[in-house]
Amino acid sequence: MQGVDRNNDPGFSPQPTPPRKGWQRPQPQATKPKRDPAPSRLAYRLHRMWLTPAFRRLTRIGLPAFLIAFLSLLWLSDENRRASLAGGLTGMVEAVQNRERFMVKVMTIDGASGPVDKALRMMLPVDLPASSFDIDLDQLRNDILMLDAVKDVELRIKPDGVLAAKVSERKPMLLWRHARGIELLDETGHRVASVTDRAVRSELPLIAGEGADKAAREAVQLFAAAGPLLPRVRGLQRVGERRWDLVLDRGQRILLPANAPVAALERAIALNQADDMLGRDISVVDLRDGSRPVVRVGIAAQNRIRAIQGRPLLGPDGRELPKDDKKS
C-alpha cells in the first residue's frame, strides 16, 4: 500500500474534500439586468388616446350619460315600475306635506258679518285640518275678493295651524233701485248686496236710474249737501246717465245740472231758505241753466192765476177744461 499517507494530519488530506453534507451555502442570486422603465406600446397609445379631447369628452361625459339614460329608460320601460316610482314620489311629497307643523287646523275670521263669515268658510277648498301646501292663499284671496261684500281680505297662516283671515267689508251707503231690483251700494258704487224691499234699509238714501251706481260718489256728496232738505228728499234719480234729479215728496223735483250739481243744489237750498220756494206749489225747479233757476208752477197755482185772469182752468192733464166743466 504505497503512497498512502498513514499519519493522518488533520487539515491536510491528499484526498479531495468529500461533498459537503447538509445545506447549500447561500449563493448570491444572479440579478436580472435592470431594464429602464418604459410604457408599452399599448399603454402609450391608450395614454395618447386619452389625451385626445374628443375622446376624453366622450368617455367622461358621453359614456356615463348614455349609461345612465340607457339604464333608467330600461328600468322605466316596465309599467309597474313607473307606477310604483310615481306612487313613491307622491307618497314622499305627501309625507312631508302632511307633517304636523304644516297642518292647518282652524280658520279664524276677523271683521266679517255672519253671512260673509259663513261664505268664507264655505269657500275654503279643503276640509280642515289640511296641509298648508294644499291651500293656495293667493287663489283663495282672489276667490274671496269676488264676493261683493268684501272690500279687502288679508290671509295668513299663523303658527300652530291657524288660517287667519282679516276681512274688511264694504259699508253700504246707498240703495239703488233699478229695473232688476234694489241693491245696496257702497260709496264707490260697488254692489254690496241685494235687498228685496226698500224698507229693509230705510235709513239709507235711495238712488235710481240706469248708470246711477257709476255716479255713486256724486250721489253721496249730493245727499250730504242736501242737509235741510233731507227730511223731504225721497231720492236721487239719474237721468240719461248724465245728471241727477233730486226727487222730493209731494211730487216735487229739482233738476240738477250735469256739471257741479252740488253747487246748484246748495243754491236751491239757499233759495228755499230765503223764499220757502219748495213750500209753495211748484212741481219742478230747473237748475240746469246756471244763470237762473226756472220753476214750473203747479196746476193748482196756475188755476188760481187763470181764475183771477178769467181764463179757462186747466185739468190735471194740463189741458184747458171745457167751460161747462168749470161750472159744475
Binding site: 448570491p28 429602464d36 422603465p37 418604459a38 410604457p39 406600446r41 399603454a43 402609450y44 397609445r45 395614454h47 395618447r48 389625451l51 385626445t52
Partner: protein, 444 residues
C-alpha cells in the same frame, strides 16, 4: 437634390400645420438622455416664414408646457443604434411630457447629433432679368448653386443661404428689392448620413408622431448657447454631449460650418470604469460628482469611496484619490478637445474676426474644463448655458439641455432654408397648365 427638397418642404408644411394647432414637441435624442419638450404657441401669427433672421430674443411667443427627460438607450455616437430600445426611450419621454402638458402631441421636431455631418459652402450666381431682385430671383439663384457630389447615401440636413451679393455688393442679408444686374449667393449646406435620418423618421413614426422638422444637434446647441453678439461677430460652439461632440461656427448670425467628433462623455465614463474596475453606473457617478481635469495638491489627499455591489468586501471598500480620477479623465478630455481643435483648424477658424469658443453640453460641466480648453484651443473660451425659455423647469436649464432648448428656439424662429423659397417658375412643367386648361375646357 430634388427629393430632399420635397421631403424638407413636406416637413415645413407639417410644421406649419403643427404651429397652426399650437402644440409641437421637440425631441433631443442624445446618447445619454432623451429630452422631450412640449411647446405651446400663442398662434400662427408669430411664424414669419420669409423673415430674414429671426430675433434671438423673441422667445415670448411660445412656452414649454411639458418637459420630460429620460435616460437614453439604444443611441450611440448620436445615432440610433437599436431601434426598439430608442423607441422605448422616446415613448417614455414623450408620454411623461404629454402627461405634464395634458395635451396630445402629434408633431415632433428632432435633432441628430452624430451621423457624420459634413459642411459645404456653395456659391451660385444668376443674372437679374428685370434689374431688380424679386422672390423668384432668389429661388433661381439658390437653384443655380453648383452642387458638389455629396457621396452615396448622404442627405442634406440644412441648406441655408448665408450671404447674398448684388453686383459685387456683398454681405446682404435680404436682397429683395435691390436693383442690380446679377445676384449671387453663398449657401451653407450640411449633409449627414441618409440612413440615420431614415432611422430617426422611422422611430418617430413608430411612436405615432410625425416628424415636422429635423436639425443638426451642434447647430441647435449653438442657437441656444451663443448670445446674439457672438453669433454676429463669429464664434464656435462646442457641444460636448454623451456620444458625440458637435462643433458649429457662426458668423453674421448664420451657421457657416458644422461638424461632429464621435467622442463624448460616455468615453470618459468608460475610461473610468476600465481604469478603476467599477461598473459603468459607479463610474458615471464618480465622473459627475468628483470629476475634474485640473489636479491640485488637495486632490491627492481627497479619497473617494468607490463603492460597488460585487459582494466582495475587499473590492467594495476600495478608495482612490481624486487626483487618480482626474488622471484618468484628463487625457480623454484632452483627446476630445484636440479633435475639436483639429476641426476648428480645418474650418479656418483662425481667420475669423472674433474667435470666441463656447463650450456647452453635458460634458462642459466638468470642473476646470474652461482652463483646459483655453489652453488647448488657445482662444477665448467660456462655458455657455442655454437661453432661458418660458416655462422650462429649472432642473432642465443646464448646459446638457442646450440642444433641446435650441430646438425650441428653432421651432419658433426657423432660419431661412433653401426649401423655404418657391421653386423657380421655369421648372414648373408648362404641360401641366395646358393639361389643366384642357381639363376645364372638356368638363365645363
Amino acid at each position: 437634390m430634388k427629393d430632399i427638397y420635397q421631403q424638407q418642404r413636406a416637413m415645413r408644411n407639417m410644421r406649419q400645420a403643427a404651429l397652426q394647432r399650437g402644440v409641437i414637441a421637440v425631441l433631443d435624442i442624445g446618447s445619454s438622455k432623451v429630452a422631450c419638450f412640449v411647446l405651446q404657441f400663442d398662434g400662427p401669427g408669430v411664424y414669419r416664414e420669409t423673415d430674414g433672421v429671426g430675433p434671438m430674443a423673441g422667445q415670448s411667443n411660445f412656452r414649454v408646457i411639458g418637459a420630460a427627460t429620460t435616460r437614453s438607450r439604444g443611441v450611440r455616437f448620436g445615432e440610433i443604434e437599436t431601434m426598439a430600445e430608442t423607441e422605448r426611450a422616446i415613448r417614455t419621454a414623450v408620454q411623461a411630457a404629454q402627461k405634464l402638458a395634458g395635451v396630445r402631441v402629434d408633431h415632433a421636431i428632432a435633432c441628430i447629433a452624430g451621423a457624420r455631418p459634413a459642411s459645404y459652402g456653395l456659391a451660385g450666381e444668376s443674372a437679374l432679368k428685370n434689374g431688380k431682385v424679386g422672390q423668384g430671383d432668389i429661388a433661381q439663384v439658390l437653384a443655380s448653386c453648383e452642387v458638389p457630389d455629396f457621396g452615396r447615401g448622404r442627405q442634406v440636413l440644412h441648406a441655408q443661404p448665408v450671404n447674398f451679393m448684388v453686383d459685387g455688393r456683398s454681405g446682404l442679408m435680404d436682397p429683395r428689392e435691390h436693383s442690380g444686374q446679377a445676384l449671387g449667393v453663398d449657401m451653407h449646406v450640411l449633409t449627414v448620413d441618409g440612413d440615420a435620418i431614415d432611422n430617426l423618421i422611422h422611430v418617430i413614426r413608430r411612436c405615432d408622431m410625425e416628424l415636422a422638422g429635423i436639425a443638426s444637434g451642434s447647430y441647435m446647441s449653438a442657437l441656444s448657447s451663443l448670445v446674439e453678439d457672438e453669433q454676429e461677430l463669429g464664434a464656435a460652439c462646442v457641444d460636448m454631449g454623451g456620444g458625440a461632440t458637435g462643433v458649429s461656427i457662426f458668423v453674421r448670425k448664420h451657421m457657416i460650418f458644422a461638424d461632429a467628433v464621435p467622442m463624448g462623455g460616455d468615453l470618459v465614463t468608460q475610461d473610468i470604469a476600465k481604469g478603476l474596475r467599477v461598473p459603468m453606473a459607479v463610474a458615471e457617478r464618480l465622473k459627475t460628482l468628483n470629476g475634474g481635469v485640473e489636479a491640485t495638491g488637495r486632490d491627492d489627499r481627497e479619497f473617494i469611496e468607490l463603492g460597488g455591489e460585487t459582494g466582495d468586501w475587499e473590492t467594495d471598500r476600495r478608495s482612490v484619490s481624486r487626483a487618480d480620477l482626474i488622471g484618468i479623465m484628463r487625457p480623454r478630455v484632452e483627446e476630445i478637445l484636440e479633435e475639436v481643435a483639429a476641426i476648428l483648424d480645418a474650418a479656418g477658424f483662425d481667420h475669423m474676426p472674433s474667435q470666441q469658443v463656447v463650450l456647452t453640453g453635458g460634458g462642459s460641466q466638468i470642473p476646470g474644463l474652461d482652463g483646459l480648453a483655453a489652453r488647448m484651443l488657445g482662444r477665448n473660451v467660456r462655458i455657455g448655458r442655454p437661453l432661458r425659455i418660458h416655462g422650462l423647469p429649472h432642473q432642465l436649464t443646464g448646459p446638457n439641455f442646450a440642444s433641446a432648448v435650441g430646438l425650441a428656439l428653432f421651432a419658433a424662429h426657423p432660419q431661412d432654408e433653401w426649401w423655404d423659397f418657391e421653386t423657380p417658375t421655369e421648372t414648373y412643367p408648362a404641360r401641366s397648365l395646358r393639361r389643366a386648361y384642357r381639363w376645364f375646357r372638356n368638363n365645363w
